[in-house]
Amino acid sequence: MSENISCERETSEKFTKLKLVEEENEDDDETPKGSPVTVMVKHREYVKLVSNDNHEYYIQRDLAETSRIIRDMLHCPGRSTSNCTVYLHMVNSRTLQKVCHYLAYQKQYLRRNGEIESFNIEPAGAMDLLLVAGFLEL
C-alpha cells in the first residue's frame, strides 16, 4: 500500500529527525514476522508507540514510562502481543511526535546547565497536545 510505504519512509525520516535512535540494530530486518519486536541498542531497551494513523515511534523505555499511563499499558498482563508496543488510539501522529519530543526534552531539562531551547508548540497542535497530556498524565 502506497500509504503505508510512505508512512514507513516518513517514519524513518522521523527517526533521524527526532534523534531518538542512536543506531539501527542490524538484526532488525531479519526479525521474523510476529515475534516480539525488541530493539536493543547499546543495552537500552526501546518501546514502540503507535498513533491512530499508524505512525510508529521508537523511544527509550525509561522515557516512555515517565507517563504512568504508558507504563501501565506496557505492563498490562495477559496481552497477546509483546509488552513493547503501545497503541494509542486517541492520539494522532503529529501529537504523538510532540509527546516524544517532550519526553526527551524533560530528560535533558535538568541535566544540561544553561542553554536549553524552549519547548515550542505549534498553534494548530496545542489543543490536542493539552488533551493528550492530560490523558497520559504528563
Binding site: 509527546v99 517532550y102 524533560q106 531539562y109 535538568l110 541535566r111 546547565n113 544553561g114 542553554e115 536549553i116 524552549s118 519547548f119 508548540i121 498553534p123 494548530a124 496545542a126 489543543m127 490536542d128 497536545l129 493539552l130 488533551l131 497530556a133 492530560g134 497520559l136 504528563l138
Partner: protein, 799 residues
C-alpha cells in the same frame, strides 16, 4: 478544600509538565486572539487552568473573557478575577458559564456609593445555575463592600460551603449574620478583616478549614468558640510579622489563640483524651511570638500541640522563634514549614508564593537571599531552577509589595551574577529580566531596589544573549535614568543603554531615539560629569574620578549610538547645547583618545545631517581642535589589537569632510585650506588595518560629498572609508545590506564618479589631487577583481 486547592495549581517541580506547557501556550494564543478553531469541548479542569494562567498574567480583559466564556468550547466552572481590571460588562460574560467557584477581586463598580455593590455584582456574574450550584465564593479584596451581602448569600446560594472575604473591612455584625445563616460552611477565610469577636462562628459546626491570618481578637472566649469546631482540619492563626525583629507588628493587645490551643493540648495529654480538634491536619502558626513561657520553651510549647494532635501532618512556623529549628518528631510524618535548611526554605517559598501572605513571602525571600549569598555552590541544578521559578512567581504576584520586590530582586542578582547565568536557560534569564524591569518600573524612586535591578541586568553575559527584550530593557533604563539621579543607578542605566542600543531592531530603536527627552538628559549628564571630573581631577579623589569617567564614557557611547542616522536625535543634541560641551570634552581629554573618539563619533553623526547647517562648528577654535585630532601615531596598536589613533583621526576627518562640503560659514579661508591639506596628508598615512573598524548601513554620507564637494581632502576621506570597508568586506559584512559592500558601492552611484577619478577626471573639481586619484584606482581595482572572480566564465580554474 480551596485554600489547599491553591497548592495544587502551583507545581513544586522544576521540570515543566507537558500539560502546563500546553496550557500556557493556549493562554498565549488566546491573549493574542490567535487560537485556531477546534471542534471538541475542553473539560473543566483544563479550561480552569487556562483561565488561571491568563489571570496570573493579568490578561483577563473583554477579549480574552469573550473567547473563554462566550462559546461552549470551554467549560469553565471556576472563575477567579483577582488582580485584573474587570468591569461590569465583563462580569456578564462570566454568566455564560455554570460555576461552582467564583472569586471577585476588586472591580470598579461603585454606583452612587464608595462600596462595591456585592448583590448586584453577584447577580450579574452568576446565572441561575451558577447560583444554584456555587460552592465557593471569594469576596476578598481591598475596596469597601456593602455589608448586607451575607443575607444575599444565604438566600441565593444554597449550596455554598466555602466563603472568603479577606482584607475587607468587615466587622463583627456581618460575621454574626454569617454565623446565623450559613450553617453549611466548611471553609471560612476572615483574614485581615476588622473582626474582633469570633464567638458567632461557634454555630458553624461543619467548618473544616478556618483561616484567621492577622486577626486581632479582643473579645469572647476564643478557645471555647473554636472547641465547637470539631471537624476542623486546617487552622490558620498566623500573624503578620516585622521580619527584622521577628516580633508581631501589632501593638494592640489581642487574645492569644495559640495559648488556648496549647492549654487544651496539655489537658488532653494529661487526661489521656483528645482535644476538640482531633481531625486537625494542618496548623499555620507563622509569625506568632510563642514566647508565652520564654523563647527557650517555644519548642516544648509546640511539641505539646503536635503531640496532642496525632493526625497533624503540617505545621508552619515561619518567622517564629522556631524558624531555624530542626523539628523532628519520632514516628510522625510531619512537615514543618520553616527556614532551617535550604530545602525547607524553598518549600516555604513554594507554600506561600501564590498565597496572599506578602510578609511571609518576604521572610522566605530573605532566607533564600542569605542562602544564595553564602552557599550558592551548594544548590543543585534542580534547586536553582526551582528557586528562580519561585522567586519570579513571588515577585510577579507581589508587585504591589515593596519588601517582596527588594528581597526578590536581591535574590535575582545572586542567581544571575556573572557566570552563574550560564546555568540558566534563556527563558529563565528572560523571566528574571522581566521581573526586574517590572520592579524598576513600579518603584522608580526606590534607590536600593533600582540598584538591585540594574546590578542584575548590568552583566556582560546577560547583555550579550541575543534573545532578550532589548527594547524594553533600554526603555526602562532610559526612564529610570531620567527619574533617579543616584550616581550608581545613573552609571549602570547609562552603561546598559549604551550597550543595548545597537542591539535593538531598527524599528524599535527609532521609537526610543526620537524621544528627545532622553538626549537632553544625556547631554546634561555629559556636562555634569565633565565638571565633576575636572573638579575631582584637581582635588584628586581617585575612586570618584574613575566612576565619573566611567559614566562619562558610557554617556558618550549611548549618545553615539542614539545619534546614528537619526536626524531628530542629532537636532536634539544640538538644541541641548551638546556641541559646546563636546568641544570642552575634546579639549579636557586631549590625552584620552578613547573619550575623544566617542565625542568625535557623535559629532560625525551630527555632521552627516545636512539640514542642521552646522555653521557653528566652523569657528576657528573648534576647527583647530578637530585638526589637532587628525594627527596621531597611526601605527600604535592597543592591547585589544585596535588602532585607536587611526579611529580618532578618521572620525575627526569625517567631521571636517562634511563641514568642508556643507558649510560656507568658515571664519578663515586659510583654515579651510589647512584642513583640506591636513586631510590629504594624514589620510595617506593611515596603515592598512587588519580588520574593519567601522561599518556602514549605506554609502549615502559618502556619495553626497563625492558628488558635491570641491575639497580634495573631503573626497579623500570618503574614498578611504569606502576602500576600507570594501577591503574587509568578506569578514565584516554590511550590517543591513544583504548583497554586500560591492553591490552597495555599485547601487550608490559612486562607481562612475570614482572610475573617472581614477583616470584623473572629475566633473566638479578642478585640480584633483594625485593622492585622491591613487585611492580611486585602488577602489576600482578591488571592484574589478571582484567582478572577474564572480564572473560565470572562468579562464583559470581556481585551485
Amino acid at each position: 478544600m480551596d485554600h489547599n486547592a491553591a497548592l495544587t495549581t502551583c507545581s513544586t517541580s522544576a521540570i515543566p509538565r507537558l500539560a502546563r506547557l500546553a496550557t500556557e501556550r493556549i493562554a498565549e494564543l488566546i491573549e493574542n486572539d490567535a487560537l485556531p478553531e477546534f471542534d471538541h469541548k475542553v473539560i473543566a479542569s483544563c479550561s480552569n487552568d487556562i483561565f488561571e494562567v491568563l489571570r496570573q498574567k493579568k490578561k483577563l480583559n473583554h477579549q480574552t473573557l469573550q473567547t473563554m466564556c462566550s462559546t461552549s468550547r470551554f467549560q469553565i466552572n471556576k472563575i477567579d478575577l483577582m488582580g485584573n481590571k474587570v468591569e461590569l460588562q465583563d462580569l456578564e460574560l462570566c454568566s455564560n458559564q455554570n460555576l461552582v467557584s467564583f472569586r471577585l477581586g476588586d472591580i470598579d463598580y461603585f454606583p452612587n456609593t464608595n462600596k462595591i455593590q456585592v448583590a448586584d455584582v453577584l447577580d450579574t456574574a452568576l446565572n441561575r445555575t451558577s447560583r444554584q450550584q456555587l460552592r465557593h465564593l471569594d469576596l476578598s479584596g481591598r475596596h469597601r463592600i456593602t455589608s448586607n451581602w451575607p443575607t444575599y448569600v444565604a438566600r441565593k446560594l444554597p449550596r455554598l460551603e466555602s466563603l472568603a472575604f479577606a482584607n475587607r473591612s468587615t466587622a463583627n455584625e456581618t460575621l454574626s449574620q454569617i454565623g446565623a445563616s450559613l450553617l453549611n460552611l466548611r471553609f471560612l477565610d476572615i483574614s485581615s478583616t476588622c473582626v474582633t469577636d469570633i464567638s458567632c462562628i461557634s454555630s458553624l459546626r461543619n467548618l473544616e478549614v478556618l483561616i484567621m491570618y492577622n486577626l486581632n481578637i479582643l473579645k469572647g472566649d476564643v478557645t471555647e468558640t473554636l472547641s465547637n469546631l470539631t471537624k476542623l482540619r486546617v487552622l490558620d492563626i498566623s500573624r503578620k510579622v516585622n521580619t527584622d525583629y521577628l516580633q508581631e507588628t501589632s501593638q494592640d493587645a489581642h487574645l492569644d489563640l495559640a495559648l488556648g490551643i496549647y492549654n487544651r493540648s496539655v489537658e488532653a495529654i494529661e487526661s489521656g483524651t483528645a482535644t476538640p480538634w482531633a481531625e486537625l491536619r494542618a496548623i499555620d502558626m507563622s509569625g506568632l511570638s510563642i514566647v508565652q513561657f520564654g523563647t527557650d520553651r517555644a519548642l516544648a510549647f509546640v511539641e505539646k500541640i503536635i503531640e496532642a494532635h496525632p493526625k497533624l501532618e503540617q505545621i508552619s512556623l515561619l518567622a517564629t522563634p522556631l524558624d531555624s529549628s530542626l523539628i523532628e518528631i519520632p514516628n510522625r510524618n510531619l512537615q514543618v514549614i520553616n527556614t532551617v535548611s535550604r530545602r525547607s526554605i524553598i518549600f516555604a517559598l513554594s507554600h506561600y508564593a501564590n498565597l496572599d501572605r506578602p510578609a511571609f513571602i518576604t521572610h522566605a525571600l530573605h532566607s533564600v537571599y542569605y542562602q544564595l549569598q553564602s552557599g550558592y555552590d551548594k544548590f543543585s541544578q534542580e534547586e536553582l531552577k526551582e528557586c528562580l521559578r519561585l522567586v519570579c512567581i513571588s515577585m510577579q504576584q507581589g508587585l504591589n509589595t515593596l519588601p517582596v520586590q527588594i528581597a526578590g530582586s536581591a535574590c535575582l542578582y545572586h542567581l544571575c551574577k556573572m557566570k552563574r547565568i550560564k546555568r540558566l536557560s534563556v527563558k529563565e534569564v528572560n523571566n528574571c529580566i522581566e521581573r526586574s524591569l517590572d520592579a524598576a518600573e513600579q518603584y522608580r524612586s526606590m534607590t536600593q531596589l533600582q540598584k538591585n535591578v540594574w546590578l542584575t541586568i548590568c552583566n556582560d553575559y546577560l547583555l550579550h544573549l541575543d534573545e532578550i527584550d532589548f527594547y524594553r530593557t533600554c526603555k526602562v533604563a532610559l526612564d529610570t535614568m531620567l527619574l533617579n539621579r543616584d550616581a550608581s543607578v545613573e552609571r549602570m542605566t547609562i552603561a546598559i543603554v549604551s550597550i543595548v542600543t545597537p542591539k535593538m531592531r531598527p524599528s524599535e530603536a527609532k521609537i526610543l531615539t526620537t524621544e528627545t527627552k532622553y538626549v537632553y538628559h544625556l547631554v546634561k549628564i555629559m556636562n555634569d560629569y565633565l565638571e565633576a571630573y575636572t573638579r575631582e581631577h584637581r582635588v584628586g579623589h581617585e575612586r570618584d574620578n574613575e566612576n565619573a569617567l566611567y559614566t562619562l564614557k558610557f554617556t558618550l557611547s549611548a549618545l553615539w549610538n542614539l545619534t546614528d542616522e537619526c536626524p531628530a536625535t542629532c537636532k536634539a543634541f544640538l538644541d541641548a547645547g551638546g556641541v559646546q560641551i563636546a568641544f570642552r570634552i575634546l579639549k579636557a581629554f586631549d590625552y584620552h583618545g578613547n573619550v575623544q573618539t566617542k565625542v568625535l563619533g557623535i559629532l560625525n553623526n551630527l555632521a552627516e545631517v545636512e539640514e542642521l547647517h552646522l555653521g557653528q562648528l566652523c569657528k576657528n577654535e573648534y576647527i583647530s581642535v578637530l585638526i589637532s585630532c587628525l594627527d596621531g601615531s597611526f601605527n600604535e596598536v592597543d592591547s585589544k589589537g585596535r588602532y585607536r589613533e587611526v579611529e580618532r583621526s578618521y572620525f575627526a576627518a569625517g567631521i571636517l569632510a562634511n563641514l568642508l562640503t556643507n558649510t560656507d560659514g568658515w571664519e578663515s579661508e586659510n583654515q579651510r585650506d589647512e584642513a583640506c591639506e591636513k586631510l590629504l596628508e594624514l589620510i595617506e598615512q593611515y596603515p592598512t588595518l587588519p580588520s574593519a573598524m567601522v561599518s556602514y548601513k549605506s554609502f549615502i554620507p559618502f556619495s553626497r560629498i563625492v558628488r558635491e564637494s570641491n575639497s580634495n581632502g573631503a573626497i579623500m576621506w570618503c574614498l578611504w572609508g569606502v576602500h576600507h570597508v570594501l577591503q574587509h568586506r568578506e569578514k565584516n559584512k554590511a550590517p543591513t545590506y544583504e548583497k554586500g559592500y560591492i553591490e552597495m558601492f555599485m547601487d550608490s552611484g559612486l562607481s562612475p564618479i570614482v572610475e573617472d577619478m581614477s583616470h584623473g577626471h572629475s566633473k566638479h573639481i578642478h585640480n584633483l589631487d594625485i593622492r585622491v586619484v591613487h585611492l580611486a584606482r585602488e577602489i576600482i581595482d578591488i571592484v574589478s577583481c571582484h567582478s572577474l572572480s564572480s564572473s560565470p566564465v572562468r579562464l583559470v580554474r581556481r585551485v
